[in-house]
């Protein structure tokens, strides 16, 4: 791995100076007056207390913190930026690689007519990300940004080409693999005369990615260059939309797949129909051996080149979101999701005076139906899989949510969910039984007046497996527009072990003003899993005082 070199920042500065020195007609003052600096800041800090009852470990440093500052300078077609990150040391649950301070992100870019160039760090995505997506999800400690060069060029009206080359971030370093790629996107409505006003909108795309990593393995003959390609279509006709993409990856033996040489495939299809008061989304996905990293030995969320979208609902209520969330299985899964939203109009039988929204969602994910080949000593294809059949259940989630305003002062949201959660596979804990859970949530807000309101969340989770039943009660008082106060208790009252029937209490206070937000809380945080888009991080149990400051400008 290579260290991030601050000297590369000079590239951006050089471009900046060069640009200024070549614009003779304008004074430096005039140029600078057109410039704009924007940014944001975030600090998360926690004082940890040992709490043997919940398994909160002793933290030698007592206080841990994650800090970020983004600065972006823009001046006409030119922009440059940096991000400073600080982990002293990183909050519990974040990868150990986040340790220390540094400028982790710096870039410079300019645009000239049809050409747009970025050097340094950048994030990019081709299509749905099946073969290439770099992004940051700070809450997960996920950042697979590129460091290199990106060029975008509009070849013709409606036809855009994007090329990238670079290496990927892993904590404060870069992975050893080199990633090269190209994406072509064609908007038929823009490209074809007479089609621009059509009710049917069609965008076609094709992309290719190749990674290079030297073969230094004595066990196997490894492919040093691994290629992947994808084709996609996005078709919209009136209220109807289809978004489909197919991806193929050549032999890519890695730690993820046990060093098998079987090619990877992925198919993603999402259709939707949406009109006022009604929305229906149907989606299907099949990915087979599609873990794609720029370092074949990497694990967890490190150095992923691609992104396999999760076809499960992103829940927000605590028990639903963090006890049994689904993590996409990179080695293979078949997933389906249906999502229906319907709005009962005001004055209708069910809508009543203020109307009512109902959402019904069903998501399922299964293993592939595979046959093991026992060819570890020969071709190492690993297994065969059947396209239209599925194997073991990984996850099921049926949930429905009803949102209704009862009066000018009272509104509520009521949720029911039924989960099937294959803990053995999803959490990688062999032998753990599959969890079957029913969850009910009532979220009611009472508005005293324009400034004062009280929100109450009551949640229950019933299961005979794992830790048994849970209940959560939350009281949140808001004093608009700046203050809020909250009390929460999560109680694992159904745990078979009476010593583990623990209350996880928490009190918090927050202040918002003009883009600044300060939150402080004290209490227990139970162990759980935090997921965003099917990518997850294990959050260990902790206890103590938590402070968060965010600001944007």
């Amino acid at each position: 791995m290579k260290n991030i070199s601050l000297t590369k920042l000079a590239i951006g500065l050089t471009i900046s100076i060069f640009s200024i020195s070549n614009i003779n007609a304008q004074s430096v003052d005039q140029i600078l007056s057109n410039g704009e600096v924007r940014g944001n800041f975030q600090l998360d800090m926690q004082y940890y207390q040992e709490d043997s009852l919940i398994g909160a470990q002793d933290v030698p440093e007592k206080i841990l913190s994650n800090g970020f500052l983004n600065l972006v300078y823009t001046n006409g077609p030119f922009s440059m930026g940096v991000r400073y990150e600080s982990y002293l040391n990183a909050l519990l649950g974040f990868p150990d690689g986040y340790k220390g301070n540094g400028l982790t992100y710096r870039f410079a870019s300019f645009q000239k007519k049809r050409l747009s160039v970025t050097v340094g760090n950048f994030y990019e995505q081709f299509g749905n990300g099946l073969i290439f997506r770099t992004y940051e999800e700070r809450g997960l400690g996920y950042d697979n940004m590129m460091d290199g060069v990106r060029v975008k060029y509009s070849l013709a009206r409606g036809l855009t080409v994007t090329g990238v080359t670079g290496v990927q971030r892993i904590f404060f370093e870069y992975g050893e693999g080199i990633v090269r790629g190209l994406d072509v996107e064609l908007s038929l409505n823009e490209a074809i005369n007479g089609f621009s006003e059509s009710k049917t909108r069609i965008i076609l795309g094709a992309s290719g990615i190749s990674k290079y990593q030297a073969d230094q393995d004595s066990r196997y003959v490894l492919p040093e260059n691994v290629g992947a390609g994808a084709g996609r279509i996005n078709l919209t006709h009136g209220y109807f939309n289809v978004n489909a993409e197919y991806a193929y990856k050549a032999n890519d033996p890695s730690a993820d797949n046990g060093y098998i040489y079987k090619p990877g495939e992925a198919l993603f299809v999402q259709t939707s129909y949406s009109r006022k008061g009604f929305g229906l989304v149907l989606a299907a996905k099949r990915n087979d051996n599609m873990s794609f990293r720029s370092d074949r030995t990497a694990d967890q969320q490190n150095l992923l080149i691609n992104y396999l979208p999760a076809l499960t609902k992103q829940h927000t209520y605590n028990l639903l979101a963090t006890l049994y969330p689904y993590a996409v299985q990179l080695n293979g899964e078949v997933a389906y999701q249906a999502d229906l939203i319907y709005k009962f109009d005001k004055g209708s039988l069910l809508g009543g005076k203020y109307g009512m929204d109902i959402q019904v969602n069903y998501a399922t994910a299964n293993n592939l139906d595979t046959t093991h080949l026992n060819d570890e000593l020969t071709k190492r294809q690993g297994y065969e899989s059947k396209w239209f059949e599925v194997g073991e259940v990984y996850f099921k989630d049926f949930n429905t949510q009803l949102t209704k305003k009862f009066s000018k002062k009272v509104k509520g949201r009521f949720t029911y969910a039924n989960l099937v959660y294959n803990k053995d596979v999803i959490e990688g804990k062999p032998g753990e039984p599959t969890v079957y859970a029913n969850i009910g949530i009532a979220d009611v807000t009472y508005k005293f007046n324009m400034r004062n309101s009280l929100r109450t969340e009551a949640q229950v989770l019933f299961t005979e497996q794992d830790q048994g039943d849970w209940a959560t009660l939350l009281l949140e008082y808001s004093y608009s527009p700046h203050w809020f106060f909250a009390l929460m208790d999560q109680y694992n009252y159904g745990n078979e072990d009476s010593k583990k029937q623990i209350h996880y209490y928490n009190a918090s206070i927050g202040y918002n003003n003009g883009g600044n937000r300060i939150t402080m809380s004290y209490g227990r945080q139970r162990a759980g899993i935090f997921c965003v888009g099917g990518v997850c991080r294990v959050v260990p149990a902790s206890s103590g005082l938590y402070l968060s400051i965010t600001s944007s400008f």
Binding site: V161, G208, I209, S210, S218, N225, G227, N251, P253, Y259
Partner: protein
């Protein structure tokens, strides 16, 4: 349209910029040549042979003494792989059982003592157990972790049946269960040895007696007999222990060479050419070849043979 074709062409180049690997298992057994269109000659990398002319020159410029292997056209030969180590106090018990069975079965049993695992590690201090009897490159350790994951000693496998080691007292029964089987293949062996150059050519011809559906690999070893060195024998540090049938070299990599499909009546000829370690005693060396089912749920050796290097 030209621009679209241009862009798609670049994508095609990127996608095709990948290495398609048809044979993932390394062949560090050396370079492969054909001199007569019939036999595949495979030379050890250390010989530095890069073309057929050099190989021919090597063969023609040396004088060779030949010794044939045994006739196994009517018998299934059996390989007994014994995991052992010089500081394993009970291993002499296993070795004694190997010798007893070898005496009973004669040339039908091919013993191989594999020094691997914690008991085979050489001592860094003192004057005992300093020899490293493990084959180089850690390949025997791969066998140990694959077949003897419990790291128990002494343990052995009879023709790798079951794909895992078994205790000493089970070996005889396992041998008796298969010793009268009809062979599915014949392995003919002939060693060509050049004493002047200390080179060995192991000539192997496989003839399939049945058509088989499984995929088979050919594995070739060199073993040395009668190595006198330290051995912990129960409670005694014995300085002059006679180590028998010690695996010295895994000639064609850990898992051997994939063979052609097993069709009845078809033959395949392979010759390995390698230098011998000057510390090995040529008179006590033996080359061993066996065919095994490459399915990792099997590993079963269906035929084997051996040939002495020098008289």
């Amino acid at each position: 349209m030209k621009k679209i074709i241009f862009a798609l062409s670049i994508i095609s180049i990127i996608i095709s910029s990948c290495d398609k690997i048809d044979d993932p298992i390394p062949k560090d057994q050396g370079s492969s040549f054909s001199l007569d269109g019939e036999t595949e000659y495979i030379t050890d990398p250390s010989l530095g042979i890069s073309n057929s002319e050099q190989l021919l020159d090597l063969i023609n410029s040396n004088s060779w003494d030949s010794l044939d292997g045994y006739d196994n056209s009517n018998r299934r030969f059996i390989v007994l792989e014994e995991f052992t180590g010089h500081t394993c106090l009970n291993c002499p018990i296993g070795a004694a059982e190997v010798i007893r069975l070898d005496t009973i079965l004669g040339d039908q049993l091919i013993p191989v003592s594999i020094h691997a695992g914690k008991f085979a590690e050489p001592k860094q201090t003192g004057d005992k157990y300093k020899s490293d009897h493990r084959p180089p490159s850690g390949k025997a350790e791969t066998y140990a972790t694959t077949f003897n994951p419990g790291d128990a000693y002494p343990r052995g496998m009879v023709s790798r049946i079951g794909g895992a080691v078994t205790p000493v007292n089970s070996w005889e029964g396992a041998i008796n269960a298969i010793k009268d089987d009809n062979p599915k293949a014949v392995i003919k062996m002939r060693n060509f040895y050049s004493a002047a150059s200390n080179l060995l050519r192991i000539d192997i011809e496989i003839e399939w007696l049945e058509t088989l559906q499984e995929d088979y690999n050919l594995q070739v070893f060199v073993a040395e007999d009668h190595i006198i060195d330290w051995q912990l024998n129960i409670t005694v540090d014995q300085p002059d222990y006679d180590h028998r049938h010690m695996l010295r070299k895994i000639v064609n990599d850990t898992w051997g060479k994939s063979l052609n499909e097993a069709n009845q009546g078809e033959t395949q000829k392979i010759q390995y050419i390698l230098p011998l370690d000057p510390s090995w005693k040529a008179n006590d060396l033996e080359s061993i070849a066996f065919i095994y089912d490459s399915d990792v749920t099997s590993y079963e050796i269906i035929q084997a043979n051996a040939a002495h290097v020098s008289e």
